[in-house]
Symmetry: C2
Subunit: 315 residues, 2 copies
Amino acid sequence: MTIDRDSIVAAAQRLGGLVERTPLLEADLPGGRVWLKAESLQTGGSFKLRGATNRLLQLSQAERRAGVVAFSSGNHAQGVALAAARLNIPAIIVMPSDAPALKVAGTRAHGADIVFYDRATEDRVTIAAALAEQRGAVLVPSFDDPDIVAGQGTAGLEVVEQCPEPVRRILVCTGGGGLAAGIALAVPQADIVCVEPKGWDDMGRSLEKGAIEPVGPNPPPTLCDALQTPLVSPITFGILARSGARGVSVSEEEVKGAVRWAWEKLQLVVEPGGAVALAALLAGKVPIENGTVATLSGGNIDPALHLAIVSGSVA
Amino acid sequence: MTIDRDSIVAAAQRLGGLVERTPLLEADLPGGRVWLKAESLQTGGSFKLRGATNRLLQLSQAERRAGVVAFSSGNHAQGVALAAARLNIPAIIVMPSDAPALKVAGTRAHGADIVFYDRATEDRVTIAAALAEQRGAVLVPSFDDPDIVAGQGTAGLEVVEQCPEPVRRILVCTGGGGLAAGIALAVPQADIVCVEPKGWDDMGRSLEKGAIEPVGPNPPPTLCDALQTPLVSPITFGILARSGARGVSVSEEEVKGAVRWAWEKLQLVVEPGGAVALAALLAGKVPIENGTVATLSGGNIDPALHLAIVSGSVA
């Protein structure tokens, strides 16, 4: 199955009315004016509803009855749970036992069954695949799937429609690269910059090397739970490599600074993993020119953690 | 000069591209699903840019050269300052010396000159009128002006376009009533509910009595700096009275609860005066039926106050 810009346009038509057209906010950074795509205001609190809905809408009636299985630390979990609930499809979500409580509660609130696993000792792919096989259910990957990538890319089409300037560069918060790859296809005229937390910058290193590299052993702890992806996929890496994308990484301090900045200056609650692209701009790691856009990919953060970050009391 | 629904439609055409089309967010409250018009994400942090831009666009070239004067505790100040800066019009803003620091900084950042007055001992109307006369400048009122009301009403037109349900009721955060009156004209089929802080509920009492009543002597302190209007105007009161609008009031505790709820559940920073309509819904003071909408009118709150409210540490 191939995926190209037409796949994104088709996804946008399919999703019409089922996902929010989130605002593209103008923001004056110390380094210049940029445009921020506020997917933190998407239904379910992140862009993940786009891909999940695009995938689930294309299931057969028999597949819908058998249900879906997904694994995710939280945002894809909520996206799949919400899309499934709207389409009356049973959903099982495999989540790490240390997933943010807010994301677990949000997933459960949409009616999904949750199966927990231990991030240190168990393999979520194996668990999810076994569950899917037991029930004859469809596994819905969080990024390694053309329909998921196409759905996420619809955010890119919106950016082009919404931005009053020609879009020249888009910084994308990157875990597995589904959003970045989708946007790269949707906006081929823009430079794509994949932003990752330091130590979890496998997409950036892979793009530099020209081949997929996993996250190194014992990656550092990060507040960016949404971006803790150990290995990107041939689909997302391939699209991004062909588009000439590159990567930059940001420190935990820079991420916290961006969460604080979004709260103070944009009136938005953004989760750490959704703030890395803004962090890269605030830290001056990518030059700001006309037509510079960054994604604010998600806002699902436990209130206590947000409070600790904005008050400066988290280490 | 009359103002009617056509005035709002004309304002919307005039403002095209100059103000944000803010999102209408779906929210599941304990009492049911509602729609929230997030004007806190408007450029300048509140709906005030709409009316200010609509007014300033209609000045003659001579008037533009002479400049404008406005008085405001902060949101109208920022709206006028920003609209004036964009149109290259000099602006003087008369602000109370106890205006929130964030609002003062925002106004100054847009290049306006600020004149402070003492809320307890000086009269801002007199000061502003004298400044306007000295300079031959045009006074831009914050609500007592048909063009201002028409501009604010464009938010109502957007709500009707954005809401997937027929709009039956709109709760509007109310100070002088410019936004409420504009929305009442824009959405004549909806019940309009003006929401005010307790002790500052002069619009509600005026509507009940059928004649304008000022705020009583020694009104209580309120966190809602944006809604501390001592007297509404014949224009706004007249429109709202003819539309059959009514008022409800909310306590300071209810306002703080709504600020907290918006932060925790909507990923939005909302100022106290912009949270009163949500507060009325959360407190069950207005029934929630299909097509219930509330404005989140502004997000300009000092970070330290927001932190204190969401952490529960403000009395």
